[in-house]
């Protein structure tokens, strides 16, 4: 693919109007005749052994149709990368959201009352919320039976260590000793959430031996497979349909509650509907962004050459693995970053705790690690007397650079992105001192891989020349699926609005990994193009017969098949489609291969030690700090991305706006705080502080469109996750410049910023511990 294939389009997504006008129907909007309502009984302690469950009282309550526990489902373990859990806890509960029982009743209120009436006795165990302590040898185990669990052998599991990855290049210890300057830093990041505005909803209805599940998932095939696996039924007996999805941000990846509700509907002998409250949406999903401890050490020469990087990362995996088992390796790559490093030794550990499980949230592990690394880069620059932008200019990767695991990079736009972001934000003016004292500009660079995955699509034409794209891909709000008509239309000389989409139904679409990994366009786009090309061949064949012209002399454009050079000799696609010959294509496309790497010295190698078609990013934030309170506002933001060729500018820009705002939240205000027991202290939108539209700064965007080896359709890469990656880091570096010292805790709440400023700015501390002087 080359940039000359670029499609110049601004295509408004077809689901946009129904969403913004409120006409759209989400899972919670659906109601089935005779349906019951579900409620869960969650664990009453974050860590405890269940000694007795008695459901008799709950079952006897009027209006209760079914109460189920572990005895009502097969004893089957499941889990994305490690099979470490059951649908219903029956021995040990390991976090406050573990599901002990489920109730179906006439109303949601009755269901909740009955769930509360279930009698559960526990032997309370010591909670193990400190994931760093849990990584120590001899620490009490979260899963005593971990060795008996099925799971990937390459993860490096050992006791509470759920995953261990190293990246080793050269001899970091020896090189560190030769460095002009060695800089060290320790950084702590709190957990955060995807926090979609649509709370989770699931409806299940049985017809004979077959169950249909409507659910708010990003990954319908994983949900289907989870139901089939946990209930011990064939995948053909499960159909998953996803109505409009009201956001996910990764947190609706993986199989969650579809199995519980399918089992409950079977027991209740009627459709059952679950809709989470906002509190449950915080507490119950086994899917939040991981807390981390990040320790970095870098040896650098006076000219900026980085001769050694050592790093140790500890990640809170929570109670169960889910699909987040790759986090240790992904975090290790982000501790290296898109820089030329001569020697590397990074160790990364994902550790069990009795906290809510962590799993993918938009660019998992990257924003926190990048936030630490980019503050570390500014510290390195300061230590050798360079401006931070200059250090990055000297060390960012370019074509021919060798990655931490030996990957040799092709064309990458890292340096172009840096210069573009500096220009957009007015960095030179800042260096000339043209900002007020309480403002500064921080910059951060980052990267994110493209991900190859099998995918499939069908394209068929209707008799009037319109078309349908049938895909297994899932729309999570990013608009990636919504953009597929652009690709089919370009192949067929049609208009994107000629196509409708049939999607989010596992019985009709081919298998797809779902809305995760910023890879829908990359993989499903490839599939749609191939399917459209089959239809194109069929159209050319038909037209060749009608026009009596060799197919090689024909072209498709403006809704017709015509002779190249003689546009009057043509037949319309509608006429061909109406002729009775089925026009139907299917496609999956050839999967790009990950670049080779040198990984013999590394453990926990899961395929992320090299980055396929990496996306390179620089963000720059102009921040204003209220130095007396620590409150930070982002006043202006610049985002420059090498995401390959941009297929639909309005859609790509939207991903940056949303990703930057989500990143500002993670930087300043969003965190899930656990108490010493591991219970969430702020499971609600008043105290889990998302940024609002009023907090959004102007965001300037520049796309660096270069010719990327192994890119996706038409030279594209991904755009969904990268905008989250360097945002907290850029803001952190701006804050540090205003208050004179960095903040090594994420989020950088007002109180944390102020705490640093009290010392660095010498703010007054009023000691009110004695006797009131005015009393």
């Amino acid at each position: 693919m080359t940039v000359t294939d670029r499609v110049e389009q601004v295509f408004i997504r077809p689901d946009g109007k129904e969403k913004v006008t409120g006409a759209g129907r989400y899972t919670a909007d659906l109601n089935l005749t005779g349906q019951a309502h579900a409620a869960f009984r969650f664990a009453d302690h974050p860590h405890a052994r269940i000694t007795r469950i008695d459901t008799a009282t709950a079952r006897a309550m009027p209006g209760v149709f079914a109460v189920i526990t572990h005895v009502d489902v097969p004893e089957i373990r499941y889990g994305g990368m490690v099979s470490d859990r059951h649908l219903f806890a029956h021995d040990v509960v390991r976090w406050e959201g573990d599901v002990v029982a489920a109730v179906a009743a006439r109303t949601p209120e009755l269901a909740r009352a009955a769930a509360a009436a279930i009698e559960v006795d526990y032997e309370v165990l010591d909670p193990l919320p400190d994931f760093v302590a849990n990584a120590e040898p001899g620490a009490p185990l979260v899963h005593a039976d971990w060795q008996s669990y099925g799971g990937s052998r390459s993860m490096g599991r050992d006791g509470n260590i759920l995953g261990r990855s190293t990246i080793v290049k050269g001899d970091a210890d020896a090189a560190m000793a030769t460095a002009d300057v060695v800089v060290r830093g320790t950084y702590r990041a709190d957990a955060s959430q995807g926090a979609p505005i649509e709370p989770r909803a699931v409806i299940a209805q049985w017809t004979g031996d077959k169950v249909t599940v409507w659910t708010s998932t990003q990954v319908p095939f994983a949900a289907r497979d989870g139901v089939a696996h946990t209930l011990g039924i064939p995948q053909s007996a499960v159909r998953v349909i996803v109505p409009l999805l009201g956001g996910g941000f990764g947190s609706k990846c993986d199989f969650h509650f579809e199995g519980h509700i399918a089992a409950l509907a079977r027991a209740a002998r009627r459709p059952v509907k679950l809709v989470f409250s906002r509190r449950e949406e915080f507490i119950a999903p086994d899917h939040r962004r991981e807390g981390m401890l990040i320790e970095l050490e870098t040896g650098v020469m006076r000219d900026g050459r980085i001769v050694a990087r050592r790093g140790r990362l500890t990640l809170d995996g929570g109670a169960y693995c889910g699909e987040g088992g790759f986090f240790a390796q992904m975090a290790a790559m982000h501790a290296c970053g898109p820089y030329v490093l001569e020697n590397v030794n990074v160790e990364s550990r994902l550790v069990y705790s009795t906290n809510q499980p962590s799993a993918s949230v938009r660019a998992p592990t990257a924003p926190q690690t990048c936030w630490a690394l980019e503050q570390h880069m500014d510290a390195i620059a300061a230590a050798i007397g360079l401006d931070g932008a200059e250090l990055r200019r000297r060390t960012l990767i370019e074509a021919g650079a060798v990655g931490p695991a030996g990957q040799v990079f092709g064309e990458v736009g890292a340096k172009q992105a840096l210069e573009a972001a500096l220009e957009l934000i007015g960095y030179d003016d800042y260096l000339r001192g043209e900002l007020p004292d309480d403002e500064a500009i921080g910059i951060a660079c980052g990267w994110w891989p493209s991900m190859a995955s099998p995918s499939g699509a069908y394209v068929k034409l209707n008799g009037d020349g319109t078309g349908v794209i049938i895909t297994g891909a899932q729309e999570c709000g990013s608009g990636a699926v919504m953009g597929l008509p652009l690709l089919a239309a370009a192949e067929l000389g049609m208009r994107p609005e000629d196509f409708t989409l049939h999607y989010q139904d596992t019985d009709s679409g081919p298998w797809d990994m779902g809305a995760s990994g910023s890879q829908t366009t990359f993989n499903n786009g490839r599939a749609v193009i191939e399917a459209a090309r089959e239809v194109r061949a069929q159209l050319l064949e038909l037209a060749s017969q009608q026009l009596e012209i060799d197919a090689a002399e024909l072209e498709l454009a403006d809704g017709v098949v015509r002779a190249a050079g003689s546009p009057d000799v043509a037949v319309s696609i509608a006429d061909l489609a109406g002729s009775g010959t089925p026009l139907l294509g299917k496609g999956s496309g050839e999967l790009p291969e990950n670049p080779p790497g040198e990984t013999s010295s590394c453990v926990g190698v899961l395929g992320m030690e090299t980055f396929l078609a990496p996306q390179l990013i620089t963000h720059a934030a102009r921040v204003k700090v209220d130095r007396q309170t620590g409150v930070v506002r982002v006043m202006e933001f610049a985002a420059a991305h090498d995401s390959g060729v941009i297929l639909n500018r309005i859609g790509a820009d939207g991903q940056v706006y949303g990703g930057v705002l989500m990143g500002i939240g993670q930087a300043l205000s969003e965190a899930t705080w656990f108490d010493e027991q591991g219970r969430q202290r702020n499971p609600g939108l008043l105290d889990y502080k998302l940024q609002t539209a009023s907090d959004a700064p102007p965001i300037h965007i520049r796309w660096i469109e270069i010719d990327t080896p192994n890119a996706g359709p038409r030279g594209s890469k991904g755009v969904g996750e990268p905008p989250s990656v360097p945002t907290p880091g850029a803001i952190a570096n701006g804050i540090a410049k205003v208050i004179g010292r960095p903040v090594h805790e994420l989020p950088m709440t007002a109180e944390r910023v102020w705490s640093v400023a009290v010392d660095s700015l010498g703010l007054e501390w009023i000691d009110t511990s004695g006797k009131d002087p005015s009393a």
């Binding site: 509190r279 102020w754 007054e764």
Partner: protein, 310 residues
Amino acid sequence: MSGRTYTQAGSVADAVAAMAAGARPVAGGTDLVVGARHGKSPLPQAMVGIHRIPGLDSIEVDPNGAIRIGALVSHAAILDSPLLAEQAPGLLDASAIVGSHATRANGTLGGNVMNASPAMDTGAPLLCLGAQAVLTGSSGTRRLGLDELWISPGRTAASADELLEAIELPAPSGAGARGSAYVRLQYRRQMEIAVVGAAAVVRLSADGGRVADAAVAITAVTPVIVRVSAAEACLVGADLSGGGEELEAALQAAGRAAAWAATPISDVRASLGYRTQMVAVMTRRAAAAAIARARGQQVRVPASDWSVVR
């Protein structure tokens, strides 16, 4: 199914009769309904809708110069009032930052006051302005100062059958320009609750050279919103002439006095220590903004929006 009743009052007398029979009044519902949904406290068994009672949604000046704000006046209506913008900008500072646009359109001043939350934004400016609650019950109408009205978090001195009809702001007394302001610590610009807040109302001497009178109140750091007389004393007499050093010293002293008066807690929103220090900052800022307004200087509403103001 639940046995709950909801009736619609056409007059204050209707509402009082329903309340005497056990009903709870509801107007915008932004505290009562949202609180019930969050499991804070269940919806009352009997409710009486008061939002259609005529005459409670206006802002008027009575013959002796007092401003009467009907209990059903929304925050949005307060923001639209040129009279209040002139006479009580500190109240606009508060109404401008209550909840979201939707909260401000639906939520009423009466509901805010009677909810008796120590974190309510309108409380501190009203207290400093000397506001009185006009309560009408089965046995007639009485007026209570807000310091008498608020007993403890969520509780008022009003009896179960007393309806808040209006909030009255007394006519200004004494010569000299007045100014008021309310400032809170906020982590974001919408959908926020006060972590620490402070209000100040000042009157200048006739020649404008000194602070003649001052009221200071603090929000969310005591069980009920309270005036801080020690802080007020620091401001009274402050000389506004010269380079501003004396004013700055007075503001610093008032801030310290307010910090001493606060009895905050540590929770997920802030630690005790941070809250205490922020009481001083918010008090300084509120007093500075009130004095600036009294001197005819432009201070934008809401005064909390430091990134725009400063």
